[in-house]
């Protein structure tokens, strides 16, 4: 647990959008997935996950519908909208630029 990093809001949004790229997911699965893929380094706490989902829904980047989960319970599934796809591309691009630039500065100095 000690290796975890606090995530800024914009990054949480980006990670959520990216996690939804393969297909619809419910909240818990999103947070599990992020944790798993990042080798337990990144973790989105519920405290920021659900507000972020509501925020993204309000912006129209994801939409929600109720479905049945793998253990047969009603769960709220989120999926990317068309605007969400575009937003993901734009944010990914921005993130790449940023990290490359930061990388260059760190190495060049």
């Amino acid at each position: 647990m000690t290796g975890r990093i606090e995530l800024p809001q914009g990054t949480v949004d980006l990670l959520i959008l990216r996690t939804l790229l393969p297909g619809p997911q419910h909240g818990w699965a999103i947070s599990e997935r992020v944790q798993q893929v990042s080798s337990e380094v990144l973790s989105i706490q519920q405290g920021s996950l659900y507000p972020a989902l509501h925020r993204l829904e309000r912006r129209g980047w994801i939409k929600a519908r109720w479905g049945t989960s793998d253990n047969n319970r009603r769960a709220k599934y989120y999926e990317l909208t068309r605007a969400g796809h575009k937003q993901l591309e734009a944010e990914t691009e921005a993130w790449r630029k940023l990290s490359t630039a930061v990388q260059q500065v760190l190495e060049g100095a």
Binding site: H26, G27, W28, E32, Q45, Q46, G47, S48, Y50, P51, A52, L53, H54, R55, E57, R58, R59, G60, S69, N71, R73, R74, A75, K76
Partner: protein, 885 residues
């Protein structure tokens, strides 16, 4: 954008569903976490605890989600309001006390603001009123003096600063013809008077310059009201002849409704729509005789011309006039913007009243804050629970603020309702000469003001208690007792400070009320120079055409006087040019004393009156030397007059004025040019609060009887019984005459002190409200701390303390609150003294007697407020209190 709106709308209008969904979503997440931990080998209990810890505050998450949905503000407010209503209903006594005290103080503020809004803030009812100025003269002896007609003509011809100037002079008329003759408020006006005001007649036109020429004056402009009531709103009234003063006058104009009189000083008519008849002013007589000042000037400045520039020009013109007519020496022009002139005297009073109600409101706020804090310590558990559930502190502040805003708004609504009644009562209470009383209403600006005051009040008294309550430590708050916690001590300090402030402000108001009371008492116990009781007054005017001859007027008055004096129950009856305290201000200048040359620059001016022999006895004005008038002082007899004491002292210091002679002629030739002083009578001031009496003299009315006369009848019992006799006497002499303005001198005198009475009544009321609130505040804090210290008291009694010791302890504690409070109040009152200097009469704003009385009164009330809880403390049962510990 549209998505966003749709989303928000759904979140807002299907709140219940959205909230339920959120709950379900979060529950699902939690359950999956628990499952995950169980699958890693934890027991069910362990898994749940771990999940709960990872989850953070459930409430917090929901709160953040609401915020993310973008509807949180409205939703929260709605929630908070619902919760607040439940809280208020839950403690009805608390809520009622809060709402009532707030309603009283907000209502008082709204009522005073209604008056201020109507009198001070509302525009004068003329176009571009800021360009209107009143024109007076001033000298070092007479600060504000009417104009002389010839000077006015010179001003009108020579000035370039004004678009137009006009003059007016009171001249009531008797309208006869159909039905009972009536007397109407009327004015003589110069051409252009309505152009200056900016009002055009709705029918016909206004007077032209021709109308000012003597002989052309038989024209009249009438008010809309007169047109409707007397002439059936007939448009053909223009050009018609109507009978006024028993003379035919041609109607040339009808003014529109809302033609308000701009007010005047001399023979004053109140501001407002109360003048019915305007006739042309005639410039009669010799333009070189400029001693008589009786017309009032008003002008409309050209656009862009400042009052100062106009004043400089007018004074340059005055200097020319003085060179041309040297006996005008000493006069300068005084220009006063119409607004200042209209609201002038009332402004200070109203601002002081606003300050007073403002203080009452502050006290009410302090009280409300105190009550809230006392309650919030009772609610500490509830708040601690909410904090422990993860509610952010800001959320608690918001919740508590919503409660106080709800209280203040309910108070505001109730206050506004009471302001409707209050304003009606205020208008009735207003001094009769108060400007613009008709413009006082509870209207939109008052509504907005009340709303703003209510919100500000709610925040003011709610913020500190809310902040403090939100600082509750959840752990301590959940424990059984909260006594002795830091926040508790802090709270006690804040509450004590609030009580101190309340006591201080209440002391200021009480000192103010004391000053107003002293002023009022000084004025009614003043030696007025005449006797107001048992005195009936009335006015009779003899139409100038019918009573053109002096001997007819002489006959009328002598007959009327002898009939009145013979009436049963009448002690003496007289008539004169005027009555005291009614705004009379007629002056004569340019006289000379025999064997006395004036000093360079010395002005000979005196108030001019006329009286019949019975006048002084009827008014109760004493004779100090010489004799009163008698029946022999008539036309053809030696010219005599009476002077008042001030005139005697001023013109004949250190010698007897009896037998001394005065003349108005430039070159007196024979005895008839001289007037001999035959008596000295007591001084009567112009107004009860004038600094002193003006020098004045009286002509014998019977020597040259005037057309207008005011009658004074002194009776043995109720003066009202003489009314019928007076009417009958006048009717017998001339059935066409109206008896106007029948009044008791007691009423005249009482309306002359109506402003100080009004000031005292209101400041007194506010002070009473303030001290009651402050007493409640002191009582609340003392009884709260007594309750807190009950175990300590029980312990003390158990250890042998006497009940008197406990009583003393509590009273000392209250003295520690009250004494600094009173000290603050006295210091504040001393520094505010300047503000009310103009409103007090013959009492210093720092009057030590009043200060001492207030200090004693407030101490006594505070002692009383502390005594009840102190007795409870002293009655502490050691066993019972220790058992509850």
């Amino acid at each position: 954008m549209l998505d966003d709106l749709r989303y928000r709308a759904r979140a807002l209008f299907r709140r219940r569903q959205v909230e339920d969904e959120l709950d379900e979503e979060l529950r699902f997440h939690f359950d999956r976490e628990v499952q995950k931990y169980i699958s890693r080998g934890m027991t069910g209990e362990q898994a749940r605890r771990t999940a709960r810890m990872a989850f953070g505050g459930h409430e917090q998450v929901k709160e953040d989600c609401r915020e993310a949905r973008g509807t949180s503000f409205l939703e929260l407010t709605f929630d908070d309001a619902k919760y607040a209503v439940r809280q208020l209903i839950g403690s009805p006594t608390f809520s009622i006390v809060m709402i009532l005290t707030l309603a009283l103080s907000i209502g008082a503020n709204s009522a005073i603001f209604s008056v201020i809004n109507g009198v001070l803030l509302k525009r004068l009812p003329y176009p571009q009123p800021q360009r209107l100025v009143r024109i007076f003269l001033t000298s070092h002896e007479y600060p504000k003096f009417p104009l002389n007609p010839w000077d006015f003509l010179d001003f009108r011809a020579r000035n370039h600063s004004f678009e137009a100037i006009a003059a007016f002079s009171r001249s009531d008329v008797q309208l006869s013809g159909q039905g009972e003759p009536i007397k109407l408020n009327g004015f003589h006006i110069t051409s252009g008077y309505f152009r200056v005001l900016g009002i055009t007649p709705q029918l016909g036109r206004e007077f032209d310059f021709q109308a000012e020429i003597p002989g052309n004056g038989r024209q009249v402009i009438i008010s809309d009201r007169l047109w409707r009531t007397r002439f059936g709103a007939d448009p053909a009234v223009i050009g018609r002849a109507i009978t006024m003063e028993m003379q035919p006058y041609t109607v040339i104009g009808v003014m529109p409704p809302g033609t308000e009189h701009p007010g005047n000083e001399y023979h004053s008519v109140a501001y407002g729509e109360n003048v019915d008849v305007w006739r042309p002013f005639s410039f009669q007589g010799n333009s070189n005789q400029r001693g008589s000042h009786f017309i009032e000037g008003i002008g409309r400045l050209k656009p862009g011309v400042s009052v100062d520039r106009a004043l400089a020009e007018m004074n340059a013109i005055m200097a020319q006039i003085v060179r041309e007519h040297p006996n005008n020496n000493g006069w300068r022009v005084l220009l006063i913007p119409l607004y200042s002139e209209v609201v002038g005297t009332s402004r200070q009073l109203l601002l002081v009243l606003l300050g007073a109600v403002g203080m009452v409101l502050l006290i009410a706020c302090a009280n409300a804050a105190n009550l809230l804090m006392a309650r919030s310590s009772a609610r500490q558990r509830e708040i601690a629970v909410r904090l422990a559930m993860g509610a952010p502190r800001l959320r608690i502040v918001r919740q508590l603020l919503t409660e106080s805003l709800l209280l203040s708004c309910l108070g505001g609504i109730l206050g506004l309702l009471s302001a409707f009644g209050g304003v009606r009562a205020l208008v009735l209470l207003l001094p009769s000469d108060f400007p613009r009383a008709n413009d006082i209403h509870v209207n939109w600006p008052v509504l907005l003001f009340t709303l703003a005051v209510s919100l500000a009040t709610g925040i003011l008294f709610g913020l500190a208690p809310a902040m403090q309550a939100s600082r509750t430590d959840p752990k301590q708050g959940l424990q059984k007792t909260t006594r002795g916690t830091t926040s508790g001590r802090q709270q006690n300090r804040l509450r004590s400070a609030l009580v101190m402030a309340e006591v201080g402000l209440a002391s200021v108001l009480l000192i103010g009320a004391g000053l107003m009371l002293r002023t009022f008492l000084n004025l009614i116990h003043l030696d007025s120079g005449f006797k107001q009781d048992h005195l009936l007054t009335a006015g009779v005017s003899l139409p100038r055409e019918k009573y053109k001859l002096e001997k007819d007027r002489y006959l009328f008055y002598t007959q009327l006087m002898s009939t009145l004096n013979a009436l049963p129950g009448v002690e003496s009856a007289g008539a004169g040019s005027d009555l005291p305290w009614t705004g009379y201000d007629e002056n004569a200048g340019g006289f000379r004393l025999e064997n006395k040359a004036p000093q360079p620059g010395e002005e000979f001016h005196a108030r001019y009156h006329a009286a019949t022999p019975g006048y002084f006895r009827a008014m109760g004005i004493p004779l100090l030397a010489g004799r009163f008038f008698n029946e022999g002082d008539k036309d053809g007899a030696k010219n005599v007059f009476l002077i008042n004491q001030t005139m005697a002292r001023h013109y004949w210091p250190n010698e007897s004025p009896i037998g001394k002679r005065v003349t108005f002629a430039d070159a007196p030739k024979n005895d008839s040019d001289w007037i001999t002083v035959v008596g000295v009578v007591g001084d009567v001031k112009d107004h009860p609060n004038s600094a002193g009496a003006e020098a004045a003299f009286w002509y014998p009315e019977f020597q040259s009887p005037d057309n207008d006369m005011l009658i004074a009848i002194r009776t043995q019992s109720d003066p009202r019984q003489a009314i019928d006799g007076l009417r009958l006497a006048v009717h017998q002499l001339d059935p066409g005459l109206a008896v106007a303005d029948i009044k008791l001198m007691d009423d005249v005198a009482s309306s002359a002190v109506s402003t100080p009475r009004f000031a005292f009544a209101l400041v007194g009321l506010f002070a009473a409200l303030a001290i009651v609130l402050a007493a409640i505040g002191a009582y609340g804090v003392i009884s709260y701390t007594v309750g807190q210290r009950a175990p300590e008291f029980g312990l003390r009694v158990a250890l042998g303390a006497q009940r008197a010791d406990l009583l003393r302890m509590v009273l000392t504690q209250s003295a520690r609150l009250v004494i600094p409070g009173i000290a603050i109040g006295v210091v504040l009152a001393l520094s505010l003294g300047r503000v009310i200097r103009g409103l007090v009469y013959q009492v210093s704003p720092n009057d030590p007697l009043i200060m001492t009385s207030v200090v004693l009164l407030v101490s006594a009330i505070a002692l009383l407020a502390a005594y009840i809880p102190a007795r409870r403390a002293a009655a502490a049962d050691p066993l019972a209190t220790l058992r509850t510990e």
